[in-house]
Amino acid sequence: MIKAFSWITKDTNIDFMKSKNITYFMSVLLLGLSIASIVFKGFNFGIDFSGGILMEIKSPQVINVDEMRDTLSKLDIDELNLQSMGEDGTEIVIRAQAKNLDEKAQMNIINQIKDTLGNSYEYRRIDLVGPQVGEELKTNGIIASVIAILAITAYVWFRFEWQFAIGAIIGLIHDVVITAGLLSFFGLDFSLTTIAAILTLAGYSVNDTVVTYDRIRENLRKYKKMNQTDLLNKSINDILSRTFLTGLTTLFAALALLIWGGDTLRSFAFTIFWGVIIGTYSSIYVSTTFLSLFDLRASQNEEVINPFGNA
């Protein structure tokens, strides 16, 4: 068997800590831009959160979007938005997200559109989210994200010394904020599945960091005399092949989803894809470089709770 990728599993000796000032600057810059985009541009909330209606329709022929827009504009509907989807132009998404609409008015819009367009179309999806439910989903999404981050924090806190816990959380927040910023900047649809994707990336990001930290802790015990910067570098290098292999396989899975998984999952897959990249970056350049601010050996002597018997 030819191991075409065996170069990945070769030993490396890269000085990651050297470039930490550049990467700090990059991270802070990205964070700043992300927060600015979130604050000033906001998110392109899908109907899950803003309430509204969404219809996906398909026709045997190519749909003329402008023509349909003209037809539908005769109806008295605020904030109607038509968008072609798919490759062959036979599918279209209709959105109406006027904020002042209650459930009855929304239902009315669906019926009006159906009446106007007639039966020659296939109604592939009809979603209606009332303003009340939209608000609830938004609240739930925020609570879920906060609780997930707190729960992960609690776990890391329990398993590691406090410097590690803070490092992992900074990495986690870094990844979540920059991903959210990216979604905001490109105006990608922010829906329930996006929240799922962000929480999954939160899990992945910390997962990657935890693997690095495990190794740092082990090396701290093994190499009592090694200089701390060298030790951090060595730890990252030790597991670099693992970082690449796992990152790449997860990227492959996300990429398959992004390309072949269909329109519904596109923004979900994109978020995961991006999350793997930023998660891998942050476990080295945020969470690990952060540790260089502390004298880790000093706290090594402290009692550590270790429920899994990590030797």
């Binding site: 068997m1 239902m107 879920a144 997930a148 899990g203 292999l245 072949w260």
Partner: protein, 514 residues
């Protein structure tokens, strides 16, 4: 030494076989023939097509109605006992009475308590009394209304013959209705949108509508309108109520679609009396506040059955009969959320999901083979075993697979190899540090274990939170992710270990090809 005890080997193999066994229904062509405990994964509505409706029971409307009837009783009590009062008003929160005289107020308060069970009377604003239900009684009332609503919704949907509908309550005042395979939820929504409260009222033929509009009519009468807006002056209280109906069917009379109905014995008796005593008068049939028709009573109708004529088409007669048969909703329902996926889109989603899974799987496997060679083959076995186990566990749990759920499976394929990578990388290091082949192999597993647990638990935490807070499809994602993490930990550690042990024992290699 690097050995696995016999009992462990047997356990591992047994779990794998059980996984295969429970995954089998997913590829059996005729699924209906399988026993209920041996079923494939349920497909969510987003994959098989169907409608998901979230309805709200408008409890306020019921309460308002209740309070207005309490208001009537209170007025009667005050009148009968000659208690002077300043004002009497009702809202959904209660009935408020202002009585200036303190002793009359105390007397009224005692009398009001007897109106209904669970009634409490509170003193408010000095000389006011607030009649309302106690919290316990109110909650009971609400729960009863929701339960009744669910029952009626179920009856109406059963009449449509939808296969396997799911109807359940959610929260305090909501009902979730899931209708698999349904292509046109508009009709269902129309049906559920009507409370279908029917009642019979006598029409005051002497009253003139114009007078009634100005409020000039007897206290026992009220104004109601027909379909075309024509006014009727009808008795405030129904002479017979729709709750006495036992059956309704669409029928034809003189070539015109009508609805025939039948009363229970009590309703039949009442109906007979009313028609006997009012021959020549008009009887208004009122549905949800609208007069459908008001035929002249030609003769006493004693049999307990009759027909409703009106402006019916065959369809509308059918619908009305269905609504009357299944009973009136105790409160109006409102659609808060609707998610409908056509069967075409569902099928496309499955196709896309399967293609993406296969490509993801091939890419991951090819990559692992390229990176690790022989050990990549071991991983491949573990990856496939993981997939089978996942399917088995999800089928056994009776989980519903959604589109994001499929995404969860694909991601798990990618993430699951992490454990193997951790183990193999550790083995490589141990070899490099000069350990013997067997020692290195063993160390790979034992040293990597804590890291594997740590790293998987963080993702598991996210999955649990998503499951708890997510709804529908997102929940499906959380389930597949959590199950995938659990099964992948098993396969990548134990299954791989089994294979490697077998390989070590058979070929006794002098070095690990890693």
């Amino acid at each position: 030494m690097y050995k696995l005890s016999k009992s462990r080997v047997i356990t591992i193999l047994a779990i794998c076989l059980a996984g295969i066994f429970f995954a089998v229904p997913n590829i059996v062509p005729n699924k209906d023939a399988l026993p209920s405990w041996w079923q494939p994964i349920n497909l969510g509505l987003d994959l098989q097509g169907g409608s998901n409706l979230l309805l709200e029971v408008k409890l306020d409307d019921v309460l308002k109605e209740r309070m207005s009837s309490i208001e009537d009783s209170a007025r009667q009590i005050l009148r009968e006992n000659r208690i002077r009062y300043k004002s009497l008003t009702s809202s959904e929160n209660g009935v408020k009475v202002l009585i200036e005289n303190a002793s009359s107020r105390a007397k009224a308060s005692n009398l009001f308590r007897k109106i209904d069970e669970g009634i409490v009377v509170e003193e408010v604003d000095g000389d006011g009394l607030l009649i309302k239900y106690s919290d316990v009684a109110l909650n009971q009332l609400k729960a009863k209304v929701v339960d009744q609503s669910i029952e009626i919704v179920r009856r109406r949907i059963d009449e449509l013959g939808t296969k396997e509908p799911l109807i359940q309550s959610q929260g305090e005042n909501r009902i979730v209705v899931q209708l698999p395979g349904l292509q046109n939820p508009e009709y269902v929504k129309t049906l559920l949108g009507k409370t279908a409260k029917m009642s019979f009222h006598l029409v005051d033929s002497n009253a003139r509508a114009a007078d009634a509009k100005r409020g000039k009519m007897g206290a026992k009468y009220k104004l109601a309108y027909g379909e075309m807006g024509e006014p009727y002056v009808i008795t405030r209280k129904p002479v017979v109520g729709g709750e006495n109906l036992v059956d309704a069917q669409p029928a034809f009379q003189e070539g015109q679609a009508v609805v025939s109905f039948r009363f229970n014995s009590l309703g039949g008796k009442k109906f007979g009396e009313v028609t006997k005593n009012n021959i020549g008068e008009r009887l208004a049939i009122v549905l949800d506040g609208e007069v459908i028709s008001a035929p002249v009573i030609q003769s006493a109708i004693m049999g307990g059955s009759g027909v409703i004529t009106g402006n019916f088409t065959v369809e509308s007669a059918n619908d009305l009969a269905l609504l009357l048969r299944s009973g009136a909703l105790p409160a109006p329902l409102e659609v808060l959320e609707e998610r409908t996926v056509g069967a075409g889109l569902g099928a496309d989603s499955i196709k896309a999901g399967v293609i993406a899974s296969c490509i993801g799987l091939i890419a991951v496997v090819a990559f692992m083979l390229a990176a690790y060679g022989l050990f990549g083959v071991f991983t491949t076995v573990a990856v496939f075993m993981n997939l089978i186990l996942m399917l088995g566990v999800l089928s056994l749990m009776g989980t519903t697979l959604t589109l994001p759920g499929i995404a969860g499976i694909i991601l798990t394929i990618g993430m699951a190899v992490d454990a193997n990578v951790l183990i193999f990388e550790r083995m490589r290091e141990e070899v490099k540090n000069g350990r013997s082949t067997r020692d290195a192999a063993a160390a790979g597993f034992t040293e990597a274990w804590a890291t594997i647990v740590d790293s998987n638990l963080t993702t598991l935490v996210a999955a649990f939170v998503l499951f708890y807070f997510g709804t529908g499809p997102v929940r499906g994602f959380a389930v597949t992710l959590a199950v995938g993490i659990a099964t992948s930990m098993f396969t990548s550690v134990t299954v791989t270990r089994l294979i490697i042990t077998a390989w070590l024992n058979k070929y006794k290699p002098t070095r690990l090809p890693i």
